[in-house]
Symmetry: C2
Subunit: 339 residues, 2 copies
């Protein structure tokens, strides 16, 4: 069911394959005015710089006026780490533990009982229905402001299980530089995520320089209510929109209203977004981040349960999209740790 | 039915009450650095300027950082003329006439036959079901780009029936100045319209300085398809979202992600948007435009079929929202005519 293959694209198998590999490098530094110091010299970096130069050259054949310089980025696995668990899934599990004292029934109800006992095999066995139940229990039934506060608090206190750094520091330094480079060159950037937009918005401006209204994601329904005289939005236990695969171009149309000229993804869930973007008239750029760096981050693609990159990799070759190798193209993977 | 009270909020009675009143004044000009020269001195203008001064004063108690300076505007009747027919409804009727040669069956099928014969009484008699059929026939079944082109062409060649000016010049000069004033003061503005967002986006940047991604409206569903090898979005004959009354705060949450600090509307359809906005912490401003100027524009409120302003007017008194009188507060109503 649509509603159950939800948002998280939770990889049930990946839940039990926590890979104990991590690594991080020093942050890149601008060298001689290089706008992308954390990118190694190579075809990917050259392609990006040539593209930006071409569409901003007012005298060139490929010039694009600033209003049409729309760039869209997937989030999980493209801007920050998604392996071995989407951070939103980790949030969900942590919230169940936090909320457990208020839900004594969870000690005897699956999949909640299994979460409380760290019994991942049983969590996996609960299937998509279990995942959906856990999402409802942790993402709905509160006001918009309450949910935002909960996300912010979790991010301030949690960390990635193997990288041992806050999730907001599990973002990719080369991508932060790319976003800044695009902003400097008059682009308007958007996040188009399969995850919940409301999970990203509390921190997207500070971390990425992308304000909340430029974050497009899946969403639960919500309802305007007046509670004790105060108008609020209450999050309801019902999916309002999904944002994966062919949903992404539709969301781009509904939310952004223009066909982007640059799209950056990392998985099969991003294929249609790249197809839609690169099929527009004039010069376009499609990019896929390939996780092939088992030393500094993770290596996974065609057979992965999280962030599977299979048909989109084949399509990249047919479409002349640029495949960015984390191992070869990223001089640095992560920004400096703050704690 | 939700799907049939749609978007246009088509006023069936108003269809047969085309009021033959028009009027336009010279465009306002900046006087001594006044940011709102087309606003008469008075409580409304003072309230706006004091609000903007307060939230931008870094040393003041009401300071709001730029990222949170979110302002939302209704479109029909707030930024441009909605009377006696929402322009989108005029567009629909015109499109039916234009498309008629390709639809010989329309000469014998209501409500299309009535449109072709300018028989508004029969159009009205077709009720909401008829309205919905006409919307489907004119707004769906084409690609995103084709619809945008159609809207742009119509706007370039049509005019308001009594004001005798292009619809994009039936915008209110004082509101253009207000938008510019807010932009200068670090606000991010959004249109939150009950009409179709895709009907506004083709011209919102040029006319209002509001890019397409900051236009939120009702929408038809669309689907990603690859047609003759080319990825496109096809508009489907099904409502995806409505954006009236209590839908507006929900859309603001989904699309913008922050509670606005300023909301400007003109009808009961905007009441919840103003309630949600002004209930936030800190200084907030709610504004309602009252159409009370039968000489220069139109006069209508509690009993109108178009843009009814009844319960929101009562709520304005309770909530201390600012009611802007077109007659008294607008020194000038429209910008200069270009043709």
């Amino acid at each position: 069911m649509m509603t159950q293959r939800w948002v998280w694209r939770v990889s049930l198998l990946a839940l039990i394959s926590l890979v104990a590999v991590a690594g991080c490098s020093d942050s890149g530094e601008a060298v001689d005015g290089d706008p992308l110091p954390s990118w190694n010299a190579g075809a990917a970096k050259t392609t990006i710089i040539e593209f930006v130069s071409a569409v901003t050259d007012e005298d060139g054949a490929d010039y694009v006026r600033p209003a049409d310089r729309i760039a869209v980025f997937d989030n999980d696995g493209t801007l920050w780490v998604e392996y071995p668990l989407y951070p939103q899934v980790s949030f969900t599990f942590d919230r169940i533990k936090t909320l457990a004292p208020r839900h004594p029934e969870w000690t005897t109800t699956q999949p909640f009982k299994a979460i409380l006992e760290d019994d991942m095999q049983t969590v996996v066995a609960s299937g998509e229905e279990g995942v959906f139940e856990m999402a409802i229990a942790t993402h709905t039934g509160m006001t918009a402001e309450e949910f935002e506060e909960t996300v912010s608090q979790w991010l301030a206190t949690s960390e990635h299980p193997t990288l041992k750094r806050p999730y907001t520091e599990c973002v990719y330094q080369p991508q932060l530089e790319l976003l800044a480079y695009l902003h400097t060159n008059g682009f308007t950037t958007f996040i188009v995520s399969g995850g919940s937009g409301q999970f990203i918005r509390p921190w997207s401006e500070e971390i990425y320089g992308i304000p909340p209204h430029r974050v497009v994601g899946s969403s639960f329904a919500s309802e305007f209510q007046i509670i004790e005289g105060k108008p609020v939005l209450v999050r309801l236990p019902r999916i309002a929109s999904l944002n994966e695969k062919a949903d992404k171009p539709v969301s781009i149309y509904n939310h952004i209203g223009s066909r982007p000229i640059l799209a950056f993804g990392n998985s099969d869930g991003d294929m249609q977004m790249l197809q839609y973007t690169t099929a527009g008239d004039g010069r376009r750029l499609g990019l896929l981040l390939h996780h092939d760096d088992d030393d500094r981050e993770f290596a996974y693609d065609r057979d992965s349960q999280v962030g599977q990159l299979d048909e989109a990799l084949d399509e990249a070759a047919r479409q002349d999209w640029t495949v960015v190798s984390m191992k070869n193209d990223f001089a640095t993977v992560f920004p400096p740790k703050s704690r």
